[in-house]
Symmetry: C2
Subunit: 469 residues, 2 copies
C-alpha cells in the first residue's frame, strides 16, 4: 500500500490492526493498549532512529545553523522523509545569522604552563588579533559586579557560579545559571571589562570539557569576547587566583558573525482522514552547536520524532488529524526556524491543535511535560498514564513548559496543547553543547524506547484529541 | 559526636535537623520532605558510593564466591563499615562451593577460521582435556529436544532462543529465557548431548560478548560442559549451520568445582533508639561473576546501600529501629550467604520488620518493587510516592518480588515487608555477567541519585514503619 518495506510479521499486525479499528468503542482502552504494544514492538525491534542518528552524527556531524553541514542535514533529512508515505515533504525558507568559531580558542595563565579549556560562547566576538592579556576578576554572580565598581575596568570578568548538584532535574539547575551566560558579557562590559569567562553549565564538577551556548550583547554597550571555561579549568583558575590575585590570563579567539544565510526548516505532512485541517505538529531542531556531533542535542530529537511517525506508518495507521513533522533550524542561536514556522502558520490561520517536541536528549523516556490547563493535564494523567506506567516505565505526565521551538511559535497559538518529551535528566548536562555529545553517548534501547513513547503519545493524541477536557 | 568528618555546611544542617525532630506531628510530611532534600543534597554532593565503587572494581576487581578477591572484598568492606559509627561490625561465616573457570574457553567452527565467543556457564564441568569436536543441533527451546529424539546423541545442543526485545522491563525478558540456562545441560544430556551452548541472555542482538550465569546438573544424569555463546556468535553459528548442517564445532574449557571454601557475609548494625529489637535489613551481594568488574552487578548495590546508611549518619539521624546492613556472599552461584543469614536470624527468632535490597544495577533510580499486601503497597503509594515523584523523578512503587537474597532468607520471614530497588532497566542486560560490567559503565549522578532514593526510603521506613497498613 505504501512505499516502505513491511516484513511478514508486520503483515499479520496490519490485519489485526485493521480489525482493531473496526470494533466498538467499549473496547477503546484495550485497543489503545494493544496499539501501544505494537508500537513498542516495532520501535524496539526495527526502529531506525539509531541507525539514522549514526549517519547524521558520523557522516554529517555537528551542524550549526548557516553552515554547510546544517544544509546537508536539511537535504538529507528531506530525503529520509521522502522515503516514507508522507503526503507532502518540503523545505521552508529560513534566514539565519551565521556565526563561526574560527580557530581553536587559546587561554592560559601567563607565566605558567597552565592552559585553560575554553570555548567561545555562541555569538561572541573575537579578541583583538593578538589576544588579550589581563588580570581576572572572579565573581559568583553578575550582581556582584556592582560592588566591585571601578575595579572591573580592564579585567577579564570570570563568573564562577557552581552548578547546583543537589537538583535531580538538571534542567532546573541549568536554568539557575544560564541567564548569566546570555546577559553576562554586556553586564561586565558596562563596568569596563575586556573579556568574559563563564563557568561551564556542566552537572559535573570534574568536567574537563567546556560547554558552549548562546550569548548576546546589549545595544549601546561594547561587545566583549566571551567564552565558557570548563569546570575543571574554572576551579584551577579560581584556586590559582586565591594564591595570586594579580595573575594575568592570555586569551585569544577569533569567532565572528559572518552575515545572513538562507537555510531551511524541513517539513513533512501526513494528511488526516477526519479532520485534515486540524494539525498536530511534532519535531525538534535539526541544527546543533559546532562541537561534538549534536547527538543528544538534538540528533535524537529529530531522528526520534521521524521514527515515531515511521512507526505509525509501518503499522498501517491512518491519522484522523493531519500530522506535521517539523525539523526546526537555528534553535541554538536565534530560533529563526521556529519564528518562521509560527509566522507562516499564523498568516495562514492554521488550526494547530497539539504539538510534541523532543529536545532533551535520547535517554530513557520518563514522560512528557504538558502545557495545558490543569484539568486537561489531569485528564491525561487519568486516561493515558496508566497505559504507559507499569509496562513501559513512562510515568511523568506533569504540567510544564513546552520545548524552546514550540514555545516560540506557540506564542501565536496560545490554545495549542503542547507536550515536551522528557527523557531521564541525569546525564544530559554532562554532554550538552560539548565535544562529548557524540553518537557513542546514545544507547539504542533507550533511544528506541523513547521513540515508542513519542509514537504512542502521538497515536493517543490523534485518537482522543477531542476527548481531552 | 561520631567518627566521620562533617563540614561546616553539614553542621548547619545538623542543627536544623535537631530542630526538625522536635516539632509536632502535624508537620511530619513537611519534615519528611525537608529530610529528603538533605539526603539528596548530601548524596549528590558528597556521596561516596562512586569512589568506593572505583576501589572495589579497579583495585579488587571481579570476585566470585570462594576466590581470594571475594575475601579481599569482604575484609575491605568490613573496614569501610568500621569507619562509620555502626554499633557493631562483624563477619558471618558462610561455606561456599568454589567454582573456577580455568583457562580461557575455546570454540571454533572446524575447518574455518571462525572463532565463537563463549564463556563457561557458572558451575559447568570441563570438556575432556583435548576438547570436544562434534556436530551441532540448534534448537530454540529445550522442549524441542523431544522431537529430535535420537538425533541429539553425540551432538552439541545449541539453544538459540532470541531475547524478546519488545519488553521494556528487561528483567522479564531475562526471566523468559533464563530457565533454559539453568536446566539446559541436564535436559540435553538426557538425550545424549555431549555439550551445551546457550545463546547469551543479552538485550542486544549485536552483542559480541558472551554473558555467563549459573547452571546446574540433575543427579543421575551425566554432567556435560556448558557455555554461553555471544549473541553475535550465536547468529553466526546459526547462519553457518543453515548452509552446512553437518559442520562440526571444536569446544574446549576446563572449568571445575574446586571444593568448599570458608568465606563470609559482612554485617554492620546500627542500633535503634525506640525499637532496638525490630530490625530493618538493607544490603546486596558482595560477590560477582568472574568476568568484568562486577560494577553494576553488584558493586553499585553494596556500595550504594552502605552509602545510604552513611548519608543518614552524617546527617545526624538516629534510627528508631535497628538497621542492619548485610553484604551477602555467593548470590551468583549458590545463595549460601542468604541461606546462612536466614538460618541464623530464624534460630535467634529475630524480628525483621522490613528489608531493602539493591541488586539491579546503578542506573537512574525509578522506584521500588514491594513485597507486601495490596493495602500496604497502596498506603505506600499514597503516602510516600508524592515525596519522590515530581522532585526526584522516582515514581515506581509497585507490588513485586523481593531481590534474590531477601527472597531466599525471606522464606523464613513471610511477614517482612520487602523493597527491591529498581533502577532504570534499559541498559542492565547489555552488561550483566560480562566483561563489559566495569566501573566506566556507571554514571556518578545516576548512582548517587539511587543512593539518595534508598536512603530516603530507609528513613521513611524507620520513621513510619508502624503506620503502614
Amino acid at each position: 500500500m505504501f512505499n516502505i518495506s513491511i516484513n511478514t510479521k508486520m503483515k499479520n499486525y496490519l490485519f489485526s490492526i485493521y480489525l482493531l479499528f473496526s470494533v466498538p468503542s467499549a473496547l477503546i482502552a484495550q485497543q489503545d493498549s494493544i496499539m501501544l504494544d505494537k508500537i513498542y514492538e516495532e520501535s524496539l525491534y526495527r526502529g531506525e532512529a539509531y541507525t539514522n542518528l549514526h549517519y547524521l552524527t558520523k557522516k554529517i556531524g555537528h551542524r550549526i545553523a548557516g553552515s554547510a553541514q546544517a544544509e546537508e542535514a536539511v537535504n538529507w533529512s528531506k530525503g529520509l522523509m521522502e522515503k516514507l508515505p508522507f503526503d507532502r515533504v518540503y523545505l521552508q525558507e529560513v534566514t539565519v545569522p551565521y556565526w563561526d568559531r574560527g580557530e581553536k580558542e587559546v587561554a592560559k595563565i601567563v607565566g605558567s604552563n597552565e592552559s585553560l579549556a575554553v570555548l567561545a560562547l555562541g555569538g561572541s566576538v573575537a579578541t583583538p588579533k593578538d589576544g588579550i592579556t589581563a588580570e581576572v576578576l572572579e565573581i559568583e554572580n553578575l550582581s556582584d559586579l556592582e560592588k566591585h565598581g571601578e575595579n572591573v575596568a580592564g579585567k577579564i570578568v570570570f563568573v564562577n557560579k557552581p552548578w547546583d548538584e543537589s537538583i535531580v532535574e538538571t534542567g532546573v539547575a541549568y536554568g539557575l545559571n544560564s541567564s548569566q551566560r546570555s546577559r553576562g558579557p554586556s553586564q561586565a562590559a558596562k563596568f569596563g571589562a575586556v573579556a568574559y569567562f563563564f563557568r561551564s553549565l556542566s552537572s559535573s564538577p570534574d568536567d574537563a570539557y567546556p560547554h558552549t551556548g548562546g550569548t548576546g550583547y546589549t545595544k549601546g554597550i561594547d561587545s566583549i569576547p566571551a567564552a565558557a571555561i570548563s569546570a575543571v579549568s574554572a576551579t584551577k583558575l579560581s584556586t590559582t587566583l586565591k594564591a595570586n590575585p594579580k595573575l594575568k590570563v592570555y586569551f585569544k579567539q577569533n569567532s565572528a558573525w559572518k552575515g545572513l544565510v538562507e537555510t531551511h526548516n524541513v517539513i513533512a505532512e501526513w494528511k488526516g482522514t477526519d479532520k485534515p485541517t486540524d494539525i498536530i505538529t511534532i519535531g525538534g531542531h535539526i541544527d546543533s552547536w559546532d562541537v561534538g556531533e549534536g547527538a543528544h542535542d538534538n540528533g535524537t530529537g529529530t531522528m526520534g520524532t521521524l521514527d515515531a511517525m515511521r512507526t505509525l506508518m509501518v503499522l498501517g495507521y491512518k491519522p484522523k488529524h493531519s500530522i506535521r513533522l517539523v525539523f526546526y533550524m537555528n534553535e541554538e542561536n536565534g530560533v529563526q526556524g521556529a519564528i518562521k514556522y509560527g509566522e507562516e502558520a499564523s498568516q495562514k490561520k492554521e488550526h494547530i491543535v497539539a504539538a510534541i517536541e523532543s529536545d532533551a536528549g535520547g535517554f530513557a523516556p520518563r514522560g512528557f511535560d504538558i502545557k495545558a490547563s490543569k484539568e486537561k493535564v489531569s485528564w491525561i494523567q487519568n486516561n493515558w498514564k496508566p497505559l504507559f506506567e507499569q509496562k513501559f516505565w513512562v510515568s511523568r505526565f506533569l504540567e510544564g513548559s513546552p520545548g524552546v521551538d514550540s514555545g516560540v511559535w506557540g506564542r501565536q497559538f496560545p490554545n495549542t496543547i503542547m507536550f515536551n518529551f522528557r527523557p531521564d535528566p541525569h546525564r544530559y548536562f554532562d554532554l550538552h553543547h560539548t565535544e562529548k555529545d557524540v553518537f557513542e553517548a546514545v544507547d539504542r534501547r533507550e533511544l528506541q524506547s523513547g521513540v515508542a513513547a513519542i509514537a504512542s503519545l502521538l497515536y493517543l493524541l490523534d485518537q482522543h484529541m477531542e476527548e481531552i477536557q
